[in-house]
Symmetry: C2
Subunit: 770 residues, 2 copies
């Protein structure tokens, strides 16, 4: 837990330079535009503690798996998010002395992430060992308007001397991943070249053969006048720079403009990359920094129009929620169906892979409501394209006949993860993927998606479940053995209620969708049935039998769903009775002790109740919530949001707010002491869910938006935007009422506190607050 | 499965050279004397596929743990058995051409492990690329009579030429472990020196600081006459050699004698090692090769007097059982309580660590019956000395008040293993250690051991169990959650019958022994109680309550002990119905599929029934055997022996024999396709158990030996030796009867087929065979 970020509604601010916090700030102040991004490393050299990180979306390296003990079925490779060429670096030497904040006296250090306009700004005054003083302002961004580019304006002003500066802007591809399993470098150099005022380096990833050309162009001005210093190219392995000398004049600012591009073979012919890089940079160079910055602000303004949540009366909460929305937008724009939402986005490289069940379970609701429909569609299409690999993955584990098991972690569809209890057993992820299809169709009404892509995924998942259960002669029921639920503090358990519930739901939904397609798109149904070799009668009968005879653990005495067989054999202790010194248990206890305990990492039974809320009466929800939440340690960043939403549903506003607080400033306040590795991007969507589904009580039922909002006691008001079937609504909840403004001409029917109302185009309707 | 070893009752023989089998043979033909040993590598250079391995008992290196995903509680280091200096090497060049069997035409290749006399012999004729032919005979052994030494006689005879040989006997410490986690070398050089006709290299292990000096002395003779060639020392890093040239005369044998010593800082002052090495080699050099070889034969004759099992009518079985006994004796002599029985002995480095529960569960019965009492006592004392580390180990996992958890794998008492489901959960090992104490006292009658050492171990183990169970409010019984039983094809299960049975037995035995010590050694009891802070009333009451209220899973319908909760939920398939292509399942199935299946790796419930046989009536044993054995895949080398013994107990002689066959030639026939990594040393004791406890039906009850033998149908007779309370018996089972000869003057009372008889000193009594 840290507390050094200054509160501001639109900005993340750090004042004063503390080298111990630098890696945390590098994560928090990260920049991205969905295509490229990186940590908030300094432009000038820094010999202190830093994690240098620049990333290009979708470019990965299959690092050879490292395990202690090999188990059959482990994947051979783990796709790592690649640390790519550093395009931000500008070395500065003044009369031969290097500017390096680790070696200077630093004053007035200020770092700002301007979320409204989408740039990173840093200013400071440094006194070099020689006594020379300079002030610096650096502004940097990854362009949202032109997503293969970025730009920097680096302004250096000598304060107490005239002198000579040696400036070396560079592209350095000689980088390595901190998390490389065998300390290998992942890039080979293909070509590099210096141009008149720039240069590029073209690199190729080992094994995967992705090529990326990273280039730069330089402009310099002093006191507003363009300079044309003599540039001397410097070439090293995977490195190119343009070095030049400039006379520094006391109190006269020198501006260095660095325009950069990252162009990759994902989007262009590899052989053309150098010229495309050059043309791309030339384009933004010609446009100029100020123009780019204006376009950046405009692009972000458009995002905020659909995304923003405004909280009145709580600047800290306001900053927290905006930070989460900002980072989600930096990570994924939904333009490219080959990309997904990495758990660290562009803020770090830990965990590897880009796609977890987080996407379907947590991010889809966010993008459904705040982005064009195609964004979520792209996320679903991503999984559709990886269906073959999911079927291959299941085959490796002994499944057949088109059964699919989607990977726990992946980049290109192949499984990366290698803990048997997760990789092979945390199979509920398959359910989340099916649920996301359901959720998308429920939200958008885009039923055609089912016939086009969705059902192929659904039937493959249903087949997996039908093979993964087995008939227990002893119980005369179907059981699901050897799984790990969302609560990863239980491994290899039997009959996890959530997983079993998901499994039969998936089978049922696959059958429902089959019937739907059969009746509405009969020819397409024939095509699909042939394509996937659907033995309709046999398979549907089998699914129905399993659905009918599935065993779900239940405790009659407490009238609760049981997380798994034997859960009540555990010593029943509540989290509130755990000594503080024992927490977090995942750092304080040995793994077996955690497994034996009743403590729950994140929503498990309650995750199921969240997904299928309408299937349970309020007393059932309450009994389960009251039993499980007090046993939950919330040691996953994905946990509090589900609890916030359910607490709100149960009318427990204080606790809903308490859960919200745990997520909204997770990274800003470094709650889990791990922000230095990168931010928790996917869980940020959970924060949004806490506000919109929790405080706003938003649901989709019967093709309508339902709201059941309450106003947290500390707040004067909050408002959020929701896009729904062509309309864009702003919902503002205050003591004065629930005011819904339709910002489009498409009329929308909503239900507020069970009272239906029509919101006409460009109209505003106010409902009484409960 | 291979079939290339020639059958001989006293020898292991390989005829013809097949480079593809070389690593297997290197394992099978390994040599050792309990103190040093190594694989059957060639003396001359060999550029083909080989695993070079020389080992010094008790010398290890804590290699940094390698895992995919770190779990709290994992040990930082894994103690590796160290590949040590190669003392067997003698490079041979003939007129500049190197003798290397990978580059010669090889004829008449013959390799023999003479088990009766304890040496390795190899002869061959090689045609060099130049066409020159030589015949070679090499004889090598590690001296049992002088266990820091070894010797080689290497005889080379030119067949079709006169020429000049350049001979380079060397000591090479520049070796590395094949299983090093990070490809590091583990030895540093301390000193080296060439002497007049020898030299030594002194090495120190990194981190652990063990020092070993390995030295050699050389003698040469030709046609029976001593030669004194000019020796030229060659020094390289961690390497010393004495190079010399000799005129080769056609058809005239040249003998090179190489005497070697391995002296270590475990047994000597580190600073004295060079001079001790020199003195040690000088001692055997003066004695000479022939005298050493005679002493070797005599030492082995003494071993065989106590160990040998003679099978008449089945040379293959005879060879198999002798091989097992031979390797066990090569691995561990019981002279040094700091040593233990590594799973690969001196035959390979895989697995690391020297001590597993194999020692207590499988090896102790062998050494109890075939070695002086002190040998087993030393094995128990080894664990006693490591009690503090076992308490430390338990503390790391959250246990307290003197509870001990012995490590799964260790060298010095600290845990090495790092799979959570094994390291933290396969805790039944603690029970085997307590059982070995019980077994030792039952066999030897040495009750004083309990007061001296045993009870301290027992109470620490009992305390562990009392903390490891928990009270289930739901069941109103104590349960044991999150364990892995001996059947490692189930992980993190609840209420494993074997583990729970072991746990309460340990608590009960600790209390029984406490009462015994209190009544017989009251003062010692006071001392002990103070030393371990035994809160007698409180702790004994707690143990008794757990013993009384422990839950053991049981199936009423089948009247069997249930391996664990939920076992009957699994799909019940029998091994005989598994397709051959699916086996072994540990190579063909993914890990989760194995875990979900009902298939059992090795005796689990049946291991408990084996240990506590007298607690169960024959029908109970039969019901459990008939249920579990058909579900057991026997994919551990430790599995068939327990089943052989129980099958014999149940009168199923054919199946008992069948199980015996699976173990007795496991390595000789490379059953599991992994002998190239080394032999399965600890399971060899299981083979012995199959014969003595299975076919011989030997038990100890009421301070007497009981026999209930049968003669396998294929055999004419079998006989084995058993030492018991000062007497040495030979039991011969043939159609003519069960003949028991007392080879000592100590009279012994035995029970054969429930009929008691006294075997007077040096007397033979024959009982009718059943």
């Amino acid at each position: 837990m840290k507390d050094y970020i200054k509160i501001d509604e639109w900005k993340i601010i750090e004042e004063g330079f503390d080298p111990h916090l630098n890696k945390i700030s590098e994560s928090i102040f990260s920049l991205g535009n969905g295509r490229m991004g990186g940590r908030a490393n300094f432009e000038e050299a820094y010999s202190g503690d830093t994690l240098q990180g620049n990333y290009v979306a979708g470019v990965y390296y299959p690092d050879k798996t490292r395990v202690g003990w090999w188990k059959n079925g482990y994947p051979e490779y783990f796709a790592k998010v690649l640390n790519a060429a550093n395009w931000v670096g500008i070395d500065i030497a003044i009369d031969g002395e290097q500017l390096d904040l680790a070696k200077c006296k630093v004053d007035s250090f200020y770092r700002e992430l301007n979320m409204q306009e989408g740039y990173l700004k840093r200013t400071f005054t440094a006194t070099l060992p020689s006594g020379k003083q300079v002030s610096v302002e650096a502004i940097r961004f990854c362009s949202m308007a032109d997503d293969e580019t970025g730009a920097i304006r680096y302004t250096i002003t000598p304060l107490n001397f005239d002198g000579e500066a040696t400036i070396t802007p560079y592209i350095d591809g000689d980088v390595m991943n901190k998390d490389a399993n065998y300390d290998e470098k992942f890039w080979d150099e293909i070509s590099k070249q210096a141009w008149e005022n720039g240069g590029y380096v073209q690199l190729r990833t080992k094994k995967t053969g992705f090529e990326v050309a990273t280039g730069m162009m330089i402009a310099v001005s002093q006191d507003g006048k363009t300079l044309n210093p003599e540039l001397k190219p410097v070439e090293k392995e995977k490195y190119i720079a343009q070095k030049f000398n400039v006379k520094l004049i006391a109190n006269t600012p020198l501006n260095i403009y660095k325009y950069a591009a990252n162009v990759s073979s994902q989007n262009h012919e590899a052989k053309d990359l150098p010229q495309i890089a050059k043309a791309t940079i030339q384009r933004v160079f010609d446009k100029g920094f100020d123009q780019m910055l204006q376009e950046q602000a405009a692009a972000w303004a458009e995002k905020w129009k659909h995304n923003d949540i405004i909280i009145e009366g709580d600047a800290s909460a306001q900053q927290g929620i905006r930070f989460n929305i900002f980072q989600l937008n930096q990570t994924y724009t939904g333009e490219d169906a080959r990309l997904n939402i990495g758990p660290k986005g562009f803020t770090g490289e830990k965990y590897g892979g880009s796609t977890y069940w987080d996407t379907e379970a947590y991010c889809v609701p966010f993008y459904l409501a705040t982005a064009p429909q195609k964004v979520t569609r792209n996320l679903l299409y991503y999984r559709y394209k990886q269906l073959d690999k999911a079927i291959e993955n299941a085959k490796l584990l002994g499944f057949k006949d088109g059964a699919a098991l989607y990977p726990m972690v992946t980049m290109d569809g192949t499984e990366c993860h290698n803990e048997w209890e997760i990789t092979f057993e945390e199979i509920h992820r398959n359910g989340a993927i099916a649920f996301a299809i359901f959720n998308y169709v429920r939200y958008t009404g885009d039923h055609d998606f089912l016939a086009e892509f969705g059902w192929e995924v659904l039937i493959a998942i249903a087949r997996f479940w039908s093979q993964r259960v087995n008939w227990s002669e002893d119980r005369q029921q179907y059981v699901m053995l050897g799984v790990t639920g969302p609560n990863e503090y239980e491994n290899n358990i039997n009959n996890n209620w959530y997983t079993s519930t998901m499994a039969t739901w998936c089978m049922d939904y696959a059958l429902t969708v089959a019937e739907y397609i059969k009746s509405t798109h009969p020819q397409r149904f024939q095509e699909l049935a042939e394509k996937v070799n659907y033995r309709e009668q046999e398979e549907s009968q089998k699914f129905r039998e399993i659905i009918e005879k599935m065993y779900y653990p239940y405790d009659e005495k407490r009238q609760i769903f049981l997380q798994q067989d034997g859960y009540l054999d555990k010593e029943q202790i509540l989290v509130k009775d755990l000594p503080a010194s024992d927490r977090p248990i995942n750092q304080k206890w040995s793994w077996d002790r955690i497994l034996r305990s009743c403590f729950i990492k994140q929503a498990d039974v309650l995750q199921g109740i969240y997904f299928f809320e309408d299937n349970y009466d309020i007393d059932t929800i309450r009994r389960n919530f009251d039993f499980y939440e007090p046993r939950t340690v919330h040691e996953s960043s994905l946990s509090p949001c589900v609890h916030a939403i359910l607490a709100a549903k149960l009318g427990d506003e204080a606790r809903a707010y308490e859960f919200y607080l745990r997520t909204s400033r997770l990274d800003l306040d470094d709650y889990n002491n791990d922000t230095e590795d990168g931010c928790h991007i996917t869980s940020m969507a959970g924060t949004w869910m806490s506000v919109v589904e929790g405080f706003g009580g938003m649901r989709v039922r019967d093709n309508k938006l339902w709201f059941n909002p309450f106003l947290p006691a500390k707040w004067q008001s909050f408002s959020f935007h929701v896009g729904f079937r062509g309309a864009l609504l702003n919902i503002k909840v205050s003591k004065a009422g629930v005011q819904i403004s339709n910002q489009t001409s498409t009329e929308v029917s909503v239900v507020v506190y069970d009272q239906e109302g029509l919101i006409k185009g460009n109209d505003t309707v106010t409902f009484d607050v409960k």
